[in-house]
Every structure is written in C-alpha cells, then in structure tokens.
C-alpha cells in the first residue's frame, strides 16, 4: 500500500507537485497517468525518498521510504532502466544491489531467469538492447520479492513483444496480491493494463477512479445524424431532451442514444441518411480531461480538435 498525503514539491517558483493525495491499493494494477511534465516522476522519486517533498508525506506500508532498513524486501522500483553503469555485467549489477539488502546470490540467478536474461548475464549492460535493459530493470525491482512495485513508463521505447511482456507481468504481479503502481502518458496503454487510475495534470490530482468509470465518465458519446429534414428533427429531438449541435452537414446529438433518436425520427416522419453512435477514443478523452494542464502544447492540437469533433 502506497499512501501520499498533501504531497508538494516546489523548485523555486515552479510547482512540480501540488498538494497531491491518493492511495495505491494491493491486488490491482494502478495506472499513474498524466501528460509529460505533469509531475509523475517527481512524485515517484518522492515516494522512494530520492527527492525531499517541500511539504506533505509519502509512505509505503505506513512508513516513509527512508525508514525501511532493507527496503528492497518491501518495495521494488524501476525508475529509469538506463540508470546503470554500462561497463558492469547484468549479474554484477544485480549482485551489488542484492548485497546491500542481504539478498542471497541464488536470488540474483532466479530473477535473471525470471526475466529471461540468464544467457547474457555476464555481458556488459552497455551491449544490451533497450528491451533487455528494461528487463534488467524489472529484474532489479523483483530482487527482494517485494509486495509493492513501482514502474515509471515501463513500456517506453519497447517493441510490441516487449510491451506485451511488461503488460502480462504487471497483471500477474497484481494477481499475486502485490501493489503495482505504473506511470504512463499513454491512456490507451493504461486502459489495457490497469484497473484503477490516478490521473494528474500540472502536479494536481484530476481523477482517482476505476478505469471503467473513467472511460464511462469522460468519453463523450454522441449520435451522428444526417437528415434532409433538419429543422423538423431538431425540434423533435429538443422536445425529448436531446442537445443538438451542427457539425458540418450532420447533427451531433447528446443525451439520447441511437435507438431513441431513430424512434423520434420515425415518429416525426423524418428521413434519415445516416444514424451512427460516435465514441471519442480514450486518448481524446484523456486529452480533453488534461486539456488545461498540458505544459507545452503544439499547434497541431488545433487541427486535432477540429478533426475529433
């Protein structure tokens, strides 16, 4: 269990994390979602005691990270897979970590086996591919067989096979009853992996909800209707509580579903050329939600918003 209370981090006048509070519970994969620069990595570093909060607290199993004398037994973390000495072998890298927490050598071999790096264990990490480096990072996180696991953007730069491997592993770790906390800036990835979501933007909490609920709530469903009898249909729909707006040569109806719109059109005797449900993608929903909190916005956004409407 990870517990964050009123966590705040300021760098000079910049507020990276702003009064953040949430809990991460065991047994499910919890996604930590936000655009780049939202404060995800800073929050994770504070949970791990690497950065000192300006105010507020972060605890793991009820204690601040710094008070765990052999923390690898309770917490495993993969922050940056590249944070290694590239001249060292995978085995020695893991051995050095294991020794700090009194973890036996046999366990080093076991985690190497678990992530599929046994064959290259004696090779320099510098010669590893991105995917192998990521597997090594996962191996390091699993060393102490911890109940709490944290991964910062674990699928970044991975090939499809690697992504599926990470996804499967995260789910099975959670299924074993562990607390699994995974950050990402990709909503679509989290929709496939996580059950619960913590969404932040500009260091503030935007949503703390199940993935299902998030999708339901934030995806703007509407019904697209094309009709030659526009005036009549609009009046009929409005009478039954539908909100109608004009999008190009079609009407966008919210508040009513496809069947209701069809029935109303039939009753009013309107000809329909098109009647289709429209669902915004998860990415669009996520962008909509975090619209006000993106640090740097490209001009392409304007075009996207027009296309997505």
């Amino acid at each position: 269990m990870i517990e964050v209370t009123d966590l705040t981090k300021r760098y000079g006048s910049t507020v990276a994390v702003d009064g953040l509070s949430f809990q991460v519970k065991p047994g499910v994969v919890t996604g930590f979602l936000g655009p780049n620069g939202a404060g995800k990595s800073t929050t994770m570093r504070m949970i791990l005691g690497l950065d000192r909060p300006t105010s507020g607290t972060a605890t793991i199993n009820g204690r601040p990270y710094g008070q765990h004398s052999k923390p690898l037994h309770s917490v495993g973390a993969l922050l940056e897979a590249s944070a290694v000495h590239t001249g060292r072998s995978a085995y020695n890298h893991l051995l050095a970590l294991a020794q700090t927490n009194g973890i036996p050598r046999s366990r080093v071999n076991a985690v190497l086996e678990q992530v599929g790096l046994t064959a290259v264990a004696k090779r320099r990490i510098g010669a590893f591919s991105l995917g192998m480096g990521q597997r090594l990072g996962v191996a390091a996180a699993l060393l102490g067989d911890p109940g709490v696991l944290m991964f910062d953007e674990p699928v970044n730069g991975l090939d499809p096979e690697g992504i599926v491997w990470i996804r499967t592993m995260l789910k099975s770790l959670a299924a074993e009853g562990r607390t699994v906390f995974v950050s990402s800036h990709l909503m679509s990835e989290m929709a496939l992996t996580a059950e619960h979501l913590i969404v932040i933007g500009q260091g503030r909490l935007i949503a703390d909800t199940s993935v299902e609920e998030f999708v339901q709530r934030s995806v703007q469903n509407h019904v697209r209707v094309v009709t030659p009898d526009e005036q009549r249909l609009r009046a009929a729909l409005a009478e039954r509580g539908g909100a109608v707006s004009v999008v190009g040569d079609a009407l966008a109806v919210t508040g009513l579903d496809c069947r209701q719109v069809g029935d109303i059109a039939g009753a009013a005797g309107c000809t329909l050329h098109e009647l289709s449900p429209q669902r915004a993608s998860l990415e669009e929903a996520f962008m909509e939600l975090t619209k006000g909190s993106v640090e740097y916005r490209g001009t392409a956004d304007v075009a996207l918003e027009g296309a997505g409407a």
Binding site: A83, H85, T100, N109
Partner: protein, 275 residues
C-alpha cells in the same frame, strides 16, 4: 510468469552488506583496473625516468667530489626516487572524484539510494572501499618507485637501504599522502557531483593553490605553503627534514583534516540534496 521458489529472505545485510556491495561495484568495472594501472604505470615510470637521469648526472663524479656535489644539491635519494608522487596524487585525486561523479552521470546513484536510503551508510562504504584501494595503490607506487630508484643510484653509490633511518617512514608516508589526495578527490566529488567540475577542483587543490601560495611575499609563501598539499607531500617524501616545515606526520594529519572536511560537507549535502 513462474512462481518464485528461491527465497529473497535476507541472509546478511546491514553495513557489511553495503560494504560488500561497494566492493562488488568497484571490482566489476574494467575502468577501475586500467585507471589504477595507468596511475601506477605513469607515476612509477616518471619516478624511474628522473632517477635514471639523476643517477647518470652523478656518475661523472666520484669520491670527495661526489660527496661535495651531493651536499651542495642537498640530494635526498629517497625523495628523488619518489618524484612520481606529483603524478600519482593527481591520478588518485581524479579517480576519487570520478568514483562519485560517475554514479551521478549515469544516474546509478538513484538505484543505489533506492536500495540503501540511509545515505550516510553509502558514503561511509564508498569512503572505506575507495580509501583502502587508494592506500594500496599509493603504497605500491612508492615502494616500486623506491626500489627502481635505488637500482639506478647503485651505479654512483648513492643508494640507501629500506632499513636506513627515515627511509621506510618516507615511503609509507608518501603512499598515504597520495591516498589522502584520493580521499580529498572523493570528498570534492560528493560536493560537486559533476566529473569535470570535481576534477578541476582537485587539480586546483593539489597544484594551483600551492602555486599561488608560493607567489606570496616572504615569509607568507612558506607560512601558508607548508600547510598546503605540495609542501606536505615533499615533507612526507624527505628523509632530511626541513626545519621550517611541518613534521611529515603532522603534515599528513593536516591533509587528512582537509579531506575529512570535504567528505563531511559532501556527506551532509548527500543527505539533504535531492538525488
């Protein structure tokens, strides 16, 4: 995923575990070996070269004239044979700075501090492991330099024995001097964290500051200079002590205090700064 059958239960750990870990780290990268080998090669090589040249110079003389020349030059066979200390102190100082800054450069420090959140322990373990390596390498350099130098000085008959007064002390003290330069580098690395900055600082401390002090008006050049690395190193290496300067052991103690201050400040910053 397969179920784990191998236990991760701790067998050992605590401070000993952190020490073992730092030892694993330093011995498991090739750069440790070639940088130490380079430090030994260049320091001993330089010492051998100057000994060879000096010995050749005295071979012209013999008997009473040789004696007169030696006195006139205030020649000290031991100090001459240890002239490689000028390079050795730099090599170990730079290595000390790199031990820390390289962990910051590749951000391995975050992985390290996640495994050991008690930062004081990490610092002490690094100090102990690097300090032991530095003492070993410093002594290898001085003993090798001494024996090679004496082989050259045998020609003109100027060689001294290890058992002669002050000889063993000079060799051991000069090795420790270089090791302390290394520890100073480690302390500066902790404070500065960036390789280039830390290396500049240790070179400044070992070479530039003493050079500036020697430009001060008399008597301040000696009063300040005797408290600085260059003179402390020369005092450690000499068997004919110069009266105005610090006793070799007092000199080393002064240097140890500088290094301890750097390490203490670095340790305090390590505990308070974000990693």
């Amino acid at each position: 995923m397969t179920t784990t059958v191998i236990s991760a239960a701790p067998t050992r750990g605590g401070y000993g575990g952190v020490l073992r870990s730092e030892w694993t780290k330093i011995r498991s990268v090739r750069s440790t070996y070639w940088s130490l080998a380079a430090a030994i090669f260049f320091s001993v090589g330089f010492a051998a070269l100057t000994s060879a040249i000096t010995a050749h110079h005295y071979e012209k003389y013999s008997g009473a004239e040789l004696h007169r020349q030696v006195v006139q030059d205030s020649f000290d066979a031991v100090a001459q044979s240890l002239s490689g200390v000028a390079l050795g102190q730099l090599a170990l100082g730079v290595l000390g700075a790199l031990v820390i800054s390289s962990e910051y450069r590749n951000r391995m420090i975050r992985t390290t501090l996640t495994a050991v959140p008690r930062r004081g322990r990490i610092m002490l373990a690094k100090l102990a492991v690097f300090g032991a390596v530095a003492v070993l390498v410093g002594e290898i350099i001085t003993f090798l330099s001494f024996f090679i130098g004496m082989a050259f000085y045998k020609g003109p008959g100027l060689n001294v024995a290890l058992s002669d007064p002050g000889v063993l002390r000079a060799i051991v003290a000069t090795g420790l001097y270089m090791a302390l330069a290394g520890v100073m580098g480690l302390g500066l690395g902790l404070v500065i964290r960036h390789g280039a900055g830390a290396i500049t600082a240790i070179i400044g401390f070992l070479l530039v500051v003493p050079a500036l002090a020697s430009a001060l008006p008399n008597p301040w050049d000696d009063r300040i200079g005797k408290m600085l690395p260059l003179q402390i190193g020369q005092q450690a290496a000499t068997t004919t002590q110069l009266h105005d300067f610090l006793n070799p052991w007092v000199g080393l103690l002064v240097l140890a205090i500088y290094a301890a201050v750097a390490v203490a400040v670095g340790g305090w910053l390590l505990r308070t700064r974000d990693a």
